[in-house]
Subunit: 318 residues, 2 copies
Amino acid sequence: MSNLNKNLKKDLKKVESLMRRDLSKEPVVKDLYDYIFDKSGKKVRASISLICSHGMKQKQQDRIKLAAVIELLHTATLVHDDIIDNSDLRRGRQTVNVAWSNSHSVLIGDFIYSKAFMLMNEIGNFRVIDELSSATNKIAEGELMQLANKNNWGSSLQQLKKISYYKTGRLFEASAKTAAILSGKSNAFIENVSKASKLIGIVFQVRDDLLDYGISENDIGKPQMQDILEEKITYPLYFALKSSTKKDALKILNKLKKKDFHVDDISDFVSSSNAFNKCNLLIEGYSNEIDKCILSISNKEIRDQMLNLSDSLKYRHE
Amino acid sequence: MSNLNKNLKKDLKKVESLMRRDLSKEPVVKDLYDYIFDKSGKKVRASISLICSHGMKQKQQDRIKLAAVIELLHTATLVHDDIIDNSDLRRGRQTVNVAWSNSHSVLIGDFIYSKAFMLMNEIGNFRVIDELSSATNKIAEGELMQLANKNNWGSSLQQLKKISYYKTGRLFEASAKTAAILSGKSNAFIENVSKASKLIGIVFQVRDDLLDYGISENDIGKPQMQDILEEKITYPLYFALKSSTKKDALKILNKLKKKDFHVDDISDFVSSSNAFNKCNLLIEGYSNEIDKCILSISNKEIRDQMLNLSDSLKYRHE
């Protein structure tokens, strides 16, 4: 994200302060907010939103508000996800469920969700509310699908793609779409940036799955091989199973189903296959589609920033 | 609720079917929905909404939709509450967190919340969205306040009232207010039914707290003395501590703090005091205010139904 221009950085600062506006004076809410919003994330979704609403003539404040709403929704899903994944760490430190309790995570997540809807309503655009509530709904559905797949190691590529879209791509898509709608862009532009952002989100997820298999040396503040420990099949394992002999695949599947394995067994199985390569090919395929969408954007500034963002995420290390 | 007129019952049936409209075909979502919506609750909040939007000339469907949205929001909070309270039973059978898992409860709760916002948006009224998102926010805040008070037995009456308002009264209030707004009622009417419903909600909570102390013989499908087991002080214990000698109060507080007690100790302490009487006096005080608000409603049908509803809840046994 180092190439993003100064304006975007300035706008992201405004987004950050708006996310905490009108905060409750209740100590428990204040403490949780301080904790959750102390470490600010990459704000990828807010960035997409700000880039796609670039050039908006009126109501500049609504542009910032929309980006803040999107980050609030994303933050709420993260706080709830940490319960699902039983995570100890997020952005390098204890999650709310560990530092407080699962109950606190549930409630502060609900608090942040509803704050997002209150702020969203201030923007006063029904299409925006429809798109963002529907995206939030799909995120929950995607997470439920993944949960239902727990310890079920036979997912198809199509299922994995659907889950990645719902869990991650859908909010990326909505970030672009609502920003484009709000700023009065053309239908062609709306379609272009929505599709590009949806695919950027899916690529983001594939890369996330790869990072979990330790393909990067960097510390991403998250324990490695977490997905396997949560009994989730993701792209790397899918491709490794697909490309191995039937005998080897059955051996691994047997170990996984019986929960009788060391993570290194799985890690070795995957890294000695051509799975990482297959994942990167998948990323490249999506990247070609993404670039095609982005290159048909006529506004040079938006086009360049979208390309920058897409490229920086594709091979990110954290 | 036996006196509610036929129209209301018919409308509640429509509400019920609308709550399940456009449901996802994903098996995990379908299964959870079937389970959650199989046992239909009392639909008190939907009833308040339907009563207060009575006489609405246009867009009858929006009237039903609003009541459905309110019940969906309420259902989502129940599903999440069962995680907080670590409840085993709801409406006489296993909660989602027990029958599935906490993770399922978190996600299906989020799914239902966002469905509610999608449906709410279809009504297309910003005041309605603002009121309902703000009510949802207050519910989470009230629950967080209660959580922060866990094993803190020194709450003031003012704190208990604030929590009852946020946790319960706020959505009752919003049910009346949004229905009155949507159906184009006068400001005086909006204020009247909002205040009455807010207080009906608080009374509902006081009665709930009493029922937990076993004042009714009926099975309410919920284990008795649950609040004490969750280390929550509610109205009965508050009044019992307030009216006992300092020595007796300290003895009980000591046991509670050390978690060294049998629930019968607390139950005996409370029931042998004048706490139940004090709770009923509190209910009576609110009831006078409620009646005053309701009696100034000029529409006879709405007035009668609001009185019916308020009376039926005041001394309910389940």
